[in-house]
Amino acid sequence: MCAKRLCLPDPLAAVTDEVIRAQIAPGSRVVDLGCGDGRLLSRLHTEHRCDVLGVELDLDQFGSALGLGLPMIRADLDAGLRDVPTGVFDVAVLSQTLQQIRRPLAVLEEMLRIARRALVVVPNFGHWRVRLQVLLAGRAPVTDSLPYEWFESPNVHFLTMLDFRDLAKRGNFKIVKELPIIGDRAVNRAWLANLRAHSALYVLERAD
């Protein structure tokens, strides 16, 4: 999608990348949708011997990723992934991008068409800071993980962890893992996760 690695402040991007990396077995075939400049993929390739493919729309980011030697497909996720044949990947990654996609469910289904598993990291708009800003200041939230004014934000959807679980019930897939990301760590289970996590990682697999 949009230049998401640019949109996110660097330390947070690094945290997210690390959390995703921990979920990917070495040697997997990985496609990263909205891969930005390809940093995550490049590390997966060199350190994890993964066979990788990046998908990015922004031409500058696309060129940067080519400069890392990555195979890249230029595509708009909202238009689907027609170029990618069914089932050629083990893992499809969608990091901090779902909230920027017009039809999130369609993209999740598409991910599970081209890959066996989907790793999705979404910002949690249920985080206490977000709630506090709306409640006390009476304004649309601007936080570290959501650093945009409402009129310039690439985010077109606002969801919480609870909302994502609802979405998953509508799709032909199941959540096999939910990892709230609190601070710089992904945790297996957390008390009041929907309040404390700034983002969450979901591992999805087809239901059938």
């Binding site: 031409l59 500058d60 030697g69 990555l70 195979p71 027609r82 170029d83 990618v84 044949p85 050629v88």
Partner: protein
């Protein structure tokens, strides 16, 4: 200041003596490949030899001979891809904006080769040349050619130059078809393949336009069944018409609108004169394209090469695409343009899909351009293409050297 001025004068003076070491100057080269005893066997089963190949090179071959980039030209291109033959030349080579020192394909790093295709009329053996058997020009008796025959001659030239494996083959349109054929026929001889505005076959629409172009040539009385080299005129009218038709397919509705719109050529008002051939600027432009084309191109070559293009079908000649691509470990970069209706993006997608299915290292981008099929040749569009080709080549070169 004055000293500097004097030096510049000296430099300019020495440049007038043709010196290929001078930046931007390039020499024509020629080599004879194959022979009567060991000729090239064509796809049609016929044989041809010796074959004279006109080519040009830029930059230096590395000691490891691993930095060679082969440029495949399109239907009516030639070996003169960049630079000038003489300082006085009005125009440089056809892709001068893309190839040269510090340019997208940097000749300070890479050794660039471009040769006129077999059957062409710009120095490589073609119908205009003498048939050794009859001692007159081949004319319509020149053997029927395919893209595969053309690529076999390219490969022979590369071997002649002492290159085991190319860093890249790159080409647009018919040039892109050659690159695809190269990867299919000589899968181990390429480290990468760059395919621009092309397809794994020519679609029926493309064949249709070629058919009309050929019809124009056949219908010209001067064509005389292809025997027009001796006395009399070549089929200028037919060839010019063929070019005009083809040229429209290289443009787009948008680019014609931008460049000409409905602007009139000679007067401010419509003349209501049926016999007036050129009222609109677009008419004048097409006439000009036709007129200049016949100065540099041969009608028999045009027939031959458009047919080679019509016949091109990678699946037909090599089998299902994923199966074809599985045999090569070359990296691919595939590029299409939004307004190209001769080779629409869907044709590039077909290639990309097959490459992904074959689990090859492939990159693909559809670039936004108003310039239709010709976008890969238009100077203003080259920086955008360079942003893909340059890092692609650099990392292929790096990874190849590492591995």
């Amino acid at each position: 200041m004055s000293l500097r001025g004097a030096l510049m004068v000296i430099e300019t003076a020495s440049a007038s003596i043709v010196d290929v070491k001078e930046p931007g100057m390039v020499a024509r080269k020629s080599v004879t490949l194959f022979s009567e005893e060991s000729p090239l066997t064509l796809a049609s089963g016929k044989t041809l030899g010796p074959i004279s190949v006109a080519y040009q090179t830029y930059g230096a071959l590395s000691p490891r001979r691993d930095n060679a980039v082969y440029v495949c030209h399109a239907l009516t291109g030639d070996a003169h891809v960049a630079g000038r033959h003489h300082p006085q030349d009005r125009k440089p080579g056809w892709w001068d904006g893309f190839i040269g020192p510090g340019k997208a394909i940097d000749t300070d790093r890479y050794f660039v080769i471009c040769a006129n295709v077999l059957g062409g009329c710009q120095g490589t053996t073609g119908p205009r040349d003498r048939n050794p058997q009859t001692d007159v020009p081949w004319g319509p008796e020149f053997p029927f050619l395919t893209v595969s025959d053309i690529v076999q001659v390219h490969q022979a030239l590369v071997e002649e130059l002492g290159i085991e494996r190319l860093l890249a083959a790159i080409g647009g349109s018919l040039g892109g078809m050659q690159v695809l054929e190269w990867a299919a026929r000589f899968p181990d001889r390429l480290a990468s393949a760059i395919v621009l505005a092309a397809g794994a076959k020519l679609n029926a629409q493309g064949i249709a336009f070629n058919a009309v172009g050929r019809r124009a040539i056949y219908a010209d009385p001067a064509f005389n069944g292809g025997w027009y080299y001796g006395e009399g005129e070549p089929p200028r009218f037919g060839l010019a018409l063929a070019r005009m038709i083809a040229h429209i397919t290289y443009l787009s509705e948008q680019s014609i609108e931008m460049k000409f719109g409905r602007k009139l050529q000679h007067s401010a008002e419509l003349t209501y004169d049926l016999l007036r051939e050129t009222e609109f600027q677009i008419e004048s432009y097409l006439h000009h394209q036709g007129k200049t084309f016949v100065e540099r191109f041969d009608a028999n070559s045009y027939l031959l090469l458009t047919r080679a293009m019509d016949y091109f079908d990678l699946v037909e000649s090599h089998g299902p695409l994923p199966h074809v691509f599985r045999k090569t470990d070359a990296r691919f970069l595939v590029v299409s343009y939004t307004t190209d209706w001769l080779f629409p993006t869907a044709q590039s997608r077909e290639i990309v899909r097959a490459l992904l299915e074959a689990r090859r290292h492939v990159s693909f981008a559809e670039l936004e351009s108003p310039h239709g099929h010709d976008a890969f040749l238009i100077d203003s569009q080259l920086p955008m293409l360079g942003r893909l080709v340059t890092p692609f080549l650099d990392t292929t070169y790096r990874d190849q050297a590492g591995g």
